[in-house]
Amino acid sequence: MRRLKAEDLEEGMVLAEDIYRDGEILLVKKGAALTDSLLRHISRLGIPMVGIEGEDENPPPALDPEEIEKIKDAIEGELSAKFQRVSKNPLMSQLREVFFKYLLSVEMK
């Protein structure tokens, strides 16, 4: 699967994941081919990214471990400044872990 921005979608592409409205109501099931009206629907709904069947034509180069470490360090640095004064609070440190995972996943996309 590859994930494309809504504006890069084309007619005939095959959905690799279901599309939900507001994360709840199923609009289109995966396997459907994109039609003109579906495309307009997707842009109206403001859905940012859509999963499409097929391999990425130019997949992003896999990050080398060193690169990943750098990204982790940067996020860690940012979060430790932000959480410096609340680091002793158990809830806040748990949240910090959760933000770390989230920010890393965003960076790796």
Partner: protein
Amino acid sequence: MTREEIKKKVYDISDLPTLPDVLIRTNKLLEDPDTLLADLTKVIEEDQSITSKILRIVNSAFYGFSGKIKTISQAVIILGFNTVRNIMVSLSIIGTFPKDGDLELFDPMKFWQHSVGCGTIAKFLGEKVGIDQPDEAFVAGLLHDLGKNIFAQFFKEDFFEALKMAYEKNILLFEAEEEVLGSNHALVGQYLGKRWRLPANLVDTIRFHHDPSHSKIDQDLTSIVHIADVICRGMGAGTGGDNSIPMIEEASWKRFDLKVELIEQWLPELGEKVEMANNLFSM
């Protein structure tokens, strides 16, 4: 300066940002029990620019009635007066936020993103935990740091000192404001909210978003915004002029029975929603 001096100054500022006429007229109509739907829609529809913006928003995924609502009266019938009014307030607030500023450390774009982010997260959390009016939480989130705009526009030098102090000592802007100005953005936002005659629970949220357990009017709304502010900072959506994260009050967290695992599960969707809202409510 003392709190009282700042309060007086805020009440005396003659060129405070104002809310648009159409909103003031709508609010008046909504206060009158005899108002008819037709009166209300007429007032709104006279303002074409806000009408088209409202329709764009109600038909977006943000409200989930895609492409079905064609007129303001349909919007009011389907979504209710309150939701339409909340959308109008949100759109009106955009206009009162400064678009540029020369204050280093306080970027109006990033501050707007912090506000939109906080509103979006508050609405989302409100829906998940089932508070009364989740779309009111959106407005409350947009407004929560309103006082910073007043500081940035009318107390520039002192505010700059506070910003610098917040970054240098890595403390909350809220605390730095107290040290430098002897007041804080929650109080100043409350003064402006009152001058604007915002609903009491919104003013309450602005006032107590840093200490929601002191809220007397709407603890649900205040607590939701308090938590949303923390999540917004953690996600790095915009910035509010400091680089520190406030502690979530235990009572707020327990109030809704929230779990860290739930937040973890929601974050990817929240990220998408925040992006969507930023496109929808861009300056």
